[in-house]
Amino acid sequence: MVRRWIGSWPVYRQFTGGDPLGRGAAARSAGTEAITPRVSTADAVVKSVCPYCAVGCGQDVYVEDGRVTQIEGDPDSPVSRGRLCPKGSASLQLTTGDARERYVLYRRPHGTEWERLDLGTAMEMIADRVVAARRDGWQWEQDGRRVRRTLGFASLGGATLDNEENYLIKKLFTALGAVQIENQARI
């Protein structure tokens, strides 16, 4: 009984056990034993890549009950060896934080406030506008030379998106005849 009581005292274990510096087993307490990593109950670990700069640090995304619960550096990555910088470490807030908008917002011409709009309706409205702006800005020729293009609409952005997304942007807008397609690489 007494021995067990003394044995629960970290400093006793530090001097009698194999942990003279008190940085290993000797420092453990009942409280320590009760603590579990916040990711220990995760249902899945999904392999990912940091979305900020172009170093491409590996990320482990922990999922529990269909929600992302933690994002950590991937120790397997030969690029980053498990490290993340302050931005990469804030990826959980980026992806799950309150500041993210989750619904479509619409500002009508001359309107003073946002309004809600159904996503399907928004997509149909945007498709209508693309078709019309494309036609309005259409040119078969300029200065007697064939151009087969539209200057009616433009697109900006791509460096934060996936390669596959950039591929579809360039492919669709080029087929529509748009040439004013640009991204952050210009800045």
């Binding site: 003073t112 433009a154 460096a159 997304e165 950039n166 492919k171």
Partner: protein, 851 residues
């Protein structure tokens, strides 16, 4: 690098722990400087003088790697007699046409080469359209014939001698005068770099937009390329010129370009020429030698990926379906087209130009003139809300009720909510897997583009109008799944990778054919889906691999980790030294082998000499390591492909307090200046009257805790707390001169705008002794805008739009301004203050536009 690419910087620290010396050249003292062996503050905008000084040192002291230079560069090539250097013409090259602000490149050619046959009819519009960038994967085409060479490097017109004369005036004294770097410190850098280069040692240069955002940005990189080629530091482990890029897939969005001037894989967008067709395009654009000699195979395969069965040999594989350029259509010209009412619709996808682009006011004026705007992002960034709370609303220049722009805000899915690949700064693709489905209306951009295309095609279905054929013939049948009908990203990757005649994924771009039997969405990415396996998703742990880690992700081209690595071996195919061995020729097996995938034809022997009529890759010799170049050599001198000269030359920034100490020519004579706009005026420079009104140099930059224009960091509580508001960095000396107090406010003014910032008085900013005077520099992190948790004015309000003529990138890294204590005025008083400054400096729409 420690500041903006901190996790990549761990490898620099590994190298330092093993004895490497680290030099940091930057106007400001950062976390990188704190860990460097040597920090060299210099005047923003003077790097070509600095690098030119090192080039001169290397040439004068004979510190160059002679065997490498003679064998692998164009040092021995003899130039035509008509070429005149900046030495002959006081700062400009031969061929300058002052009226059109452009160079005729004819006199820059190698002696004995004819100009590319079809190039004669190419118009000046082509030279305006960021053509230089079409060489992101290799140099420009050369003409017919063999250049004359002098391997002794003694001929007075050989590149080596021209280089020597060109840089002779970039002495340590001149570097001190131009850059504000004391002679002894400059020579210390020269010694560190040359001591650490040669057979046994290599030196690397890492840079970011501090080198590119100038009116001479491409020439900054060229200067580093000359230096690294002279020192033998290209294609070898530990060497190179490393672009540290700032977005997760900015490399990918250049390779698969959402850029006006490029098609996937750096194939240029066609221009409007008379009688243009596929043959004429290839004739004019493809190189005769090297891998660009196979451009037709890459291009036809792209057209097949876009238009599938509709693309046939009989219809030129739908070449005519491509829209044509007539000059520049860059983001800055597009803004002007919006203001002028020509461009009426605008998609913003993960970019925030209302605060993130140079001269942010012009961006907002453009958006205010649109019919409709679609913003796809995570949060309500400034580009989504300018119509209700932008600076022009505050100043009274605009009223919300008067703005007719219809705005759609569509929330975007995060990287954790979609499958897809990013291409990192070293050309490596890494796949990220979907962890959870996007919530509410949030959707991937893949979803948005696919379904937008579907809806547009439905509207055009049945149309007989020839303008609609390219849309209706487009291959657009990606499989979708789940309740959201999410397109399959891997199916898109498979299309990018390409398919052979049997429909199976190809494994290398060398399998592509010019006859339409293969398809490929981006030829340099061929192999990323080899064997039907997503190679970008490979994740063999680094600790289970060698230092090359070739089984983690996939790097273009062909999973090579170091480009041009044939140069790591000598002309006979043996490593220059055992210490720096990377790839080598295995004579027994008759193949190239090594730690990395050899960047060379696998079985081409080092002593191979091509027959005279050989073309494409077959025309490269066994000792031509630069296989994307039209002559297989590293170009010390660039005879074709650049708008602003064959050799980097120091010009002052568009706005500079200094008169160019090196030449009578003040600025890059062919820098691109958009047509004048009352909100985009330039300030006087040097000793021109009025320049004293804007006496300080300002430079913009990033901080560790924020990302670009803040769209992904100002809404994150942790990051907002770490860097809670906009500030400017000033030296104690400048603070004393302008009565600025630490922690209080300063107002910063240019001819474009006025902003306020918290003052950070710090010795991290150093006054420099430049051209006989004390020069103060002001540091401006550019992450801010009025929205989010961490707020402040946008540094981009101050910027003008003078652009690099090759890339059309703005000069964000060196401009002039004034600074004064206190907060900026509000309402109409803000614009009145800017007007007063313009008047005091005597600014008109012609100021600063001299050639």
């Amino acid at each position: 690098m420690a500041e903006c690419h901190p996790v990549g910087f761990q490898w620099v620290m590994e190298a330092k722990a093993r004895g490497a010396k680290l030099v940091h050249v930057d106007p400001r003292f950062t976390r990188t400087s704190a860990l460097a062996d040597l920090h060299v503050p210099l005047r923003a905008g003077s790097d070509i003088a600095f690098l030119g000084g090192i080039i001169n040192h290397v040439l004068e002291t004979g510190a160059y790697f002679r065997d490498y230079v003679v064998a692998y560069t164009n040092a021995s090539v003899i130039l035509g007699e008509d070429f005149q250097d900046t030495e002959d013409l006081d700062g400009v090259f031969s061929g300058l046409d002052s009226d059109t602000r452009s160079y005729d490149h004819q006199t820059w050619q190698y002696e004995g080469l004819e100009v590319q046959s079809a190039a004669g009819e190419r118009t000046e519009a082509v030279s305006e359209s960021a053509r230089g960038e079409a060489h992101g994967s290799g140099g420009a085409a050369l003409g017919e014939g063999e250049p004359r060479r002098d391997p002794t490097l003694e001929h007075p017109r050989c590149v080596f001698q021209v280089l020597k004369r060109h840089y002779a005036r970039y002495t340590p004294e001149m570097v001190e005068r131009v850059c504000g770097v004391p002679r002894d410190r400059f020579l210390q850098v020269c010694e560190l770099v040359t001591e650490n280069s040669g057979r046994d040692r290599t030196t690397a240069f890492a840079y970011a937009v501090g080198w590119t955002q100038h009116t001479v940005g491409v020439q900054y990189i060229r200067a580093a390329a000359i230096l690294q080629s002279l020192l033998g530091n290209i294609g070898r482990p530990g060497g190179g010129i490393l672009a540290l890029r700032g977005h997760a897939s900015i490399q990918g969005s250049t390779d698969i370009p959402t850029l006006f001037n490029l098609l996937p894989g750096y194939i240029p967008m066609p221009h409007a020429h008379t009688n243009e067709n596929l043959d004429a395009f290839i004739e004019a654009e493809a190189a005769r030698k090297g891998f660009w000699g196979n451009m037709r195979s890459y291009f036809v395969s792209l057209l097949k990926a876009y238009w599938g069965d509709a693309a046939t040999a009989d219809n030129d594989f739908c070449f005519d379906y491509l829209p044509r350029l007539t000059g520049t259509h860059s983001t800055y010209e597009t803004v002007r087209a919006q203001i002028d009412g020509d461009c009426k619709g605008y998609f913003l996808m993960g970019e925030n130009p209302a605060v993130g682009s140079a001269n942010a006011k012009l961006q907002r004026l453009g958006m205010a003139a649109l019919d409709w705007l679609v913003v796809r992002d995570f949060s309500l960034i400034e580009s989504a809300t300018w119509w209700k709370d932008g600076p022009e609303i505050e100043s009274g220049e605009m009223r919300t009720e008067d703005i007719g722009t219809e705005v759609f805000f569509l929330p975007a899915a995060a990287h954790t909510e979609k499958d897809g690949s990013f291409t990192n700064t070293q050309r490596m693709l890494q796949w990220h897997h979907k962890a959870v489905a996007p919530a509410g209306d949030t959707r991937s951009d893949l979803w948005f583009m696919y379904h937008l295309g579907r809806l547009v095609r439905r509207r055009l279905a049945g149309s007989a109008d020839p303008m609609d054929r390219p849309v209706l013939d487009l291959t657009w049948d990606y499989p979708t799944s789940g309740p959201l009908d999410e397109p399959d990203a891997e199916a898109v990757l498979a299309e990018i990778n390409g398919r052979g005649p049997d429909g199976a994924p190809i494994s290398a771009y060398t399998e592509l054919k010019p006859d339409g039997s293969t398809s490929c969405g981006c030829w340099i990415y061929a192999g990323v889906y080899a064997d039907g396996v997503n190679q970008a998703a490979r994740r063999k742990p680094g600790r289970e691999q060698d230092w090359v880690a070739a089984e983690w992700g996939w790097a273009w081209p062909a999973n090579r980790r170091i480009l041009y690595n044939r140069a790591s071996a000598d002309p006979d195919g043996k490593p220059w030294s055992e210490r720096k061995a990377l790839v080598w020729w295995d004579a027994e097996k008759g193949r190239w082998t090594g730690h990395d995938v050899p960047d060379f034809v696998p079985d081409k022997a080092p002593d191979y000499e091509p027959p005279e009529d050989a073309e494409g890759p077959d025309a490269l010799r066994g000792d031509d390591p630069f296989i994307m170049q039209a002559d297989g050599k590293a170009w010390l001198y660039v005879p074709a492909g650049l708008m602003d000269g064959p050799l980097p030359t120091h010009y002052e920034p568009q706005e500079s307090p200094v008169t160019n100490p090196l030449y009578g020519q003040q600025r890059n004579p062919v820098r691109h200046l958009p047509s004048p706009h009352p909100d985009d005026l330039y300030q006087p420079s040097g000793d021109a009257p009025g320049s004293e009104v804007f006496p300080y140099v300002a430079t913009t930059y990033r901080l560790t805790e924020h990302h670009t224009a803040g769209g992904m960091s100002r809404w994150q509580p942790y990051l907002a707390e770490l860097q809670p508001e906009f500030f400017c960095e000033v030296s104690p000396e400048l603070a004393a001169e302008r009565e600025l107090r630490h922690g209080e406010w300063a107002t910063i003014v240019s001819a474009r705008g006025v902003i306020e910032a918290r003052v950070l008085v710090t010795a991290r900013m150093t006054p420099l002794d430049v051209a006989g005077r004390t020069l103060h520099q002001i540091g401006l992190p550019y992450h801010w805008g009025p929205n989010g948790y961490s707020r402040g004015d946008a540094a981009n309000e101050l910027l003008h739009l003078a652009l690099d003529p090759n890339t059309h990138i703005q000069e964000a890294k060196a401009l002039t301004c004034d600074i004064r204590p206190g907060r900026r005025p509000r309402g109409p008083a803000a614009t009145a203050l800017v007007r007063r400054y313009r008047d005091r400096a005597g600014i008109t729409d012609r100021t600063g536009t001299e050639i």
